[in-house]
Symmetry: C2
Subunit: 110 residues, 2 copies
DNA sequence: TTGACATGAAACCAAATGATTTCATAAATA
DNA sequence: TATTTATGAAATCATTTGGTTTCATGTCAA
């Protein structure tokens, strides 16, 4: 029950508004931790923690380059979330289809 | 900063694995709180709280019917999350396009 | 090699979260 | 009407979370 999907970490990563803002930043350009932190009213360690959580959810990838760490968007995490939603939508649409069929059958029966 | 979007509540609602499992259940059929709770190894009040959080995120709608409360999937919450992801993807794709253009220009310049 | 710079890591803290138990209320049923 | 049934609400608790400060480490540059 409540299967431990890989998408679990992605959902967790996107749950925080600061992290979503970070994702929005990284969608436009790659950034070091310091670069990202400069955009928020919190300390660098706090931002670094957020980045690690995003990495755990495969929402970003981190590449060490010298003493810097380049943070880059990773489409995998967002894709996992999107696919989960699409799966739910599939079931939901199937239900709507059944409802429509039932109504039509009802109409035919009078 | 970190704009308080309506989708905030939807992301929050989907962050918990139990709540995602509830969404999966409700995608197949509407259920009372008791029905939902029967699927989990936790008390009904706990499940009721989860349902209220899902409702706050517009992931479900709750309709009172007599002494029962029918919980039904609401596509709005999932749509909000999907749209946010699509927006990020748009920026990301734009960047990939720019990168491709830059590489082609580089090739042409020698 | 010395110093500045980017980051990691650990200890710590307040607030939020997920869950419980207990009691109250309102509606269906015998 | 009396009783069961479905839910709401409040108090409580342990854990997680998001943040801080402080200190250590590794890398670039003068």
């Amino acid at each position: 029950m409540t299967d431990p999907n890989p998408s679990d970490h992605a959902f967790r990563a996107l749950a925080d508004p600061t992290r979503r803002a970070i994702v929005a930043l990284l969608a436009e350009r790659d950034m070091t931790i310091g670069d990202v932190a400069a955009n928020f009213a919190m300390t660098r360690p706090a931002v670094a923690k957020h980045l690690r959580i995003l990495e755990a959810g495969a929402v970003i990838r981190v590449e060490a380059r010298g003493r810097e760490r380049i943070n880059r968007l990773d489409p995998a995490g967002l894709a996992a979330v999107r696919h989960w939603i699409e799966e739910i939508d599939r079931f939901w649409s199937a239900r709507l289809g059944q409802l429509k069929d039932a109504i039509e059958a009802e109409d035919n029966d009078g």
